[in-house]
Point group: C2
Chain length 317, copies 2
C-alpha cells in the first residue's frame, strides 16, 4: 500500500481537513453519501499530485485545495457509479453506496456530483481547466466501456490493456498534475512534463493495483481479494502469465472463465504466479515508475519534486 | 401530443437532419446507443426552443444547431439513466437502452455522454453557457433525487411537487431558451424573459405529461399507461384529486400504494377523474402556459415569438 511520504505528509492532512470542513452540496442526501465515502478512507493520491504539481513551481498548496478536492471528487463520483456497474458490496472496507442507498440513488448521486463539480469548475477556473476535466471524465467513461467489452476476453493484448488503463485510470492522474501545474503558474514545458508524469504514474498505479488484487488479503484491500478475476476483468498479471505460460495454464484459465461466477479464484492466482505473471507485472510497473520519474528531471529541484518521486517509488514493492 | 407548429416546422427537420448527419462520439458503442434513442423519435422540444429563442433576436437558427443538439443530448443522457433508475422496459416505444445494452453500459453511456457534451461545450461556447448547462444538470439530478425520496408519499404538497418539477424538468427548458437567447445575441432583458418562458413552459409540460400518463393509451405514449402510479410517483392529477376528494378516495389510494407493485392502476385513475384531478390538472397547466406566454410579451413581434406561443398552446388540450 502507498504510505504518506515525508515531503508531503501535511498535504494529505490538509486535504482531509478540507473535506471535513468545507465539503457540502445543495442536496443533503448526496452530501451524506459522498461524506461517508470520503470518511471510509482512500489515499487521496490525485489531490496530493495536484498540490505537489502546483507547489513544484513555487505556488502555495493551501491556495489550490479546492482544485485538488475536485480531482478526488471526480474519482469518488466514478467509484459510486463503478460500484453500481460492478454490483460491488463493499468499497474501502465499508458498504458500497449502492448497498446503503440503493442503485437508484447511487446513479443519481454520481450524476449530481459530476454536474456539481462542473458547475463549480466552470465558474471558478479559467480555460482550459474546465475543458481538461470534462475531457478527462469522457476518457474515463470511454475506457470503462472498453473494459466492460473486454470482460472475459483472455486474448486481450498488452497494448489493448494499456489503452484501457490510460483512459480509465491514468487520464485523471495526468489531469490532476496538469491542472495543478497550470493553476500553480508553471511554465508550459513544466505543465507538459507534470502531465506526462501523471500519465505514467497512473499506468504504474493501475498495474500495482491489479497486482494487489491478487496478493493482498481482503482486509487490507477493503474489498474481496481476487475480485478482478471473479469479475472476469482481464488484468495485467493474467495477460503476462498467459503470454509466458503453457497451453495447460491457458486451458485452466479458459475453464475458469467459462465456469460459474462463484468459483474461487485462488487456483488461477497460483497459476499466474507459477507462470511468472506476478513478477512480470512488478517489472512492467517499475518500467512505468521509471518513465514517470524521468519526466520530473526537467523540473527545477524542489521538495515538491522529491515528493512526487517518493509517491512514484511507493508503487515499487 | 405536441405537434409541429407551422412557424417552426423546418426547425424540427433541421434538428433531425443534424442528428442524422453530424452526431458521433469517439466511442462507437455509445454512439450506437444514443443514435438508437434518437431514432426512436421524440418531439425535440428543447432544441426547438433553443433555435426559436436564438431566432427571436434575429439570429439564423442554422448557426445554432450544435447548441440546440446539446440540449437534446443532455435530455437523452438523463433518459438513459432514468431508465436504469426506473428499471424501464421501453422508451418511446422501443426497448430502453438498459434492456438492449445492459445496466452497466447504460450507466457508463450516460456518464460518457454528459462528459462528452461538457468537453465540447467548454471548448466551443463562452461563459456563462458551460456554467448554465452544468448547473442545470445538477438541478435535474437534485430534483430526481427529491422525486425518488417523495415516491409513495401521498401527503406531498403541490408546492413540493412544483419544486421537484422546476428542477427535474423545467430547468432544462429554461436553459434551452436562455442559452439560445444568449448565443443569438439577445438583449439582457430578453434573455431573462425567454429563460422565464422556458421555466413556465417546462412546468406546464410536466403537468401535461403527468396527465397524458393517465389519459393516453400505451401505444401513443410509447410506455405503459398509468406508469407513474405503478412506479408510486406522486403526480399532479393525484395531488389535486386527493385535495378535492373524500376520505373514501384517500383510503383507496393508500390501499393501492401499500399494495403489491403489479396492481392495475386503472381504478385509481378512475377515482382521480371522479374527484376532478384530471380537470384540475388541465386548469393548472393552462395557468402555467399563460404565464409562459406573458413572458413573451416584452419581446419584439416575430415569427419566432409566434412559434414559441404556438408551442406553449400545444400543451392545452
Amino acid at each position: 500500500m502507498i504510505q504518506q511520504t515525508r515531503a508531503e505528509l501535511d498535504l494529505h492532512a490538509l486535504v482531509e481537513e478540507f473535506f471535513a470542513t468545507s465539503f457540502a452540496t445543495d442536496n443533503p442526501l448526496i452530501t451524506e453519501a459522498v461524506r461517508r465515502m470520503l470518511a471510509a478512507g482512500g489515499k487521496r493520491l490525485r489531490p496530493r499530485i495536484t498540490l505537489l504539481s502546483a507547489q513544484s513551481s513555487g505556488a502555495n498548496p493551501r491556495e489550490h485545495l479546492q482544485l485538488a478536492a475536485y480531482m478526488e471528487l471526480i474519482h469518488v463520483a466514478t467509484l459510486i457509479h463503478d460500484d453500481v456497474v460492478d454490483s460491488a458490496q463493499t468499497r474501502r472496507g465499508v458498504n458500497a453506496t449502492a448497498v446503503d442507498f440503493g442503485n437508484r440513488v447511487s446513479v443519481l448521486a454520481g450524476d449530481y456530483l459530476f454536474a456539481w463539480i462542473f458547475k463549480h469548475v466552470t465558474w471558478e477556473y479559467p480555460p482550459p481547466v474546465p475543458h481538461i476535466l470534462s475531457g478527462t471524465l469522457a476518457e474515463i467513461c470511454d475506457g470503462e466501456v472498453q473494459q466492460l467489452r473486454a470482460h472475459g476476453n483472455i486474448g486481450l493484448e498488452l497494448s489493448e490493456y494499456l489503452e484501457i488503463v490510460q483512459k480509465k485510470t491514468a487520464s485523471l492522474f495526468a489531469a490532476s498534475a496538469q491542472c495543478g501545474a497550470i493553476m500553480g503558474g508553471a511554465r508550459a514545458q513544466d505543465v507538459e512534463a507534470l502531465r506526462d508524469f501523471g500519465l505514467y504514474f497512473g499506468i504504474a498505479f493501475q498495474m500495482h493495483d491489479d497486482l494487489l488484487d491478487m496478493t493482498e488479503d481482503s482486509r487490507v484491500l477493503g474489498k474481496p481479494a481476487g475480485h478482478d478475476l471473479a469479475e472476469r476483468k482481464v488484468s495485467i498479471p493474467l495477460i503476462l502469465a498467459l503470454k509466458a505460460g503453457d497451453s495447460e495454464f491457458r486451458t485452466e484459465v479458459e475453464r475458469f472463465y467459462s465456469g460459474p461466477a462463484g468459483d474461487a479464484a485462488q487456483p488461477v492466482i497460483a497459476g499466474i504466479a507459477r507462470c511468472g505473471g506476478l513478477s512480470a507485472t512488478r517489472e512492467q510497473t517499475a518500467r512505468y515508475v521509471n518513465r514517470a520519474k524521468v519526466c520530473l528531471r526537467s523540473l527545477e529541484n524542489s521538495a515538491a519534486r522529491d515528493g512526487l518521486t517518493e509517491l512514484a517509488d511507493c508503487l515499487l514493492d
